[in-house]
């Protein structure tokens, strides 16, 4: 039972990696809270969107085993 987390932009720099595989968390919110504490992410969850398996989802979406999770900081393309 595990999930893979992808990191981008300032989260990638703070985590020092592109991705990591972690034990299945209780929820997306719990997952981010733990990672934020561990990696020192500056951005609170309220400023992020979250995507699972390549699609945006609500923060309260249940996580399946093997899910690929990406926390999406405010974007700045263009």
């Amino acid at each position: 039972m595990a999930v893979t987390v992808l990191y981008f932009a300032s989260l990638r720099d703070a985590a020092g990696r592109d991705s990591e595989t972690l034990p299945q968390p209780a929820s997306l919110r719990a997952l981010y809270a733990g990672l934020r504490a561990r990696h020192g992410f500056a951005l609170p969850a309220e400023r992020l969107r979250v995507a699972v398996d390549g699609a945006f989802v609500a923060w309260d979406t249940p996580l399946a085993d093997g899910a690929e999770v990406a926390f999406i900081p405010p974007v700045s393309g263009g």
Binding site: F8, S10, R47, G54, F56, P74, V75, S76, G77, G78
Partner: protein, 147 residues
């Protein structure tokens, strides 16, 4: 139909424009976002764009499909750079064809606004003083990495 693309090489806007042809098109509106040498009063030396490719592709396609349903246009395309860009380089290009110019302009502007707001692409600015910062608009202050 693939209308949106990410690319890590220089934008070929001539080829992009050539793909937007229709005998019914009286109007072609386009927008090119370029790397400029300043932002918020600071001198910018270069930019780096990073994307979440799978989600950027699907979100970009969704935006162009939505533009085709919202506006009276014939077709639309967009492409966004990733990687390292120099001052003056095109970072994003949007093109729209329509019978009439009103919808062509309206759709072009709507698309670039939507791309900037919704597509998971991030810009890291490199400044004249050697510092760098990921841009996360809306933050109380930008997340600065002094490297």
């Amino acid at each position: 139909m693939k209308r949106f693309a990410l690319t890590d090489t220089a934008l070929d806007t001539v080829a992009l424009q050539a793909a937007l042809q229709s005998p019914a098109a009286g109007a072609f509106a386009s927008f090119e976002g370029r790397v400029r040498d300043h932002h918020a009063g600071r001198t910018v030396r270069a930019l780096h764009y990073q994307a979440y490719p799978a989600l950027a592709d699907s979100e970009g396609e969704a935006i162009l499909a939505e533009a085709l349903s919202r506006f009276d246009i014939l077709d639309a395309r967009a492409v966004h750079r990733t990687g390292d860009l120099a001052i003056g380089d095109p970072a994003v290009w949007v093109g729209v064809i329509a019978a009439h110019r009103g919808p062509a302009f309206d759709a072009c502007r709507w698309i670039i606004d939507a791309l900037k707001e919704r597509v998971p692409i991030w810009k890291r600015e490199s400044y004249g003083d050697g510092s760098e910062a990921w841009q996360h608009p809306g933050a109380a202050q930008e997340v600065v990495d002094n490297k």
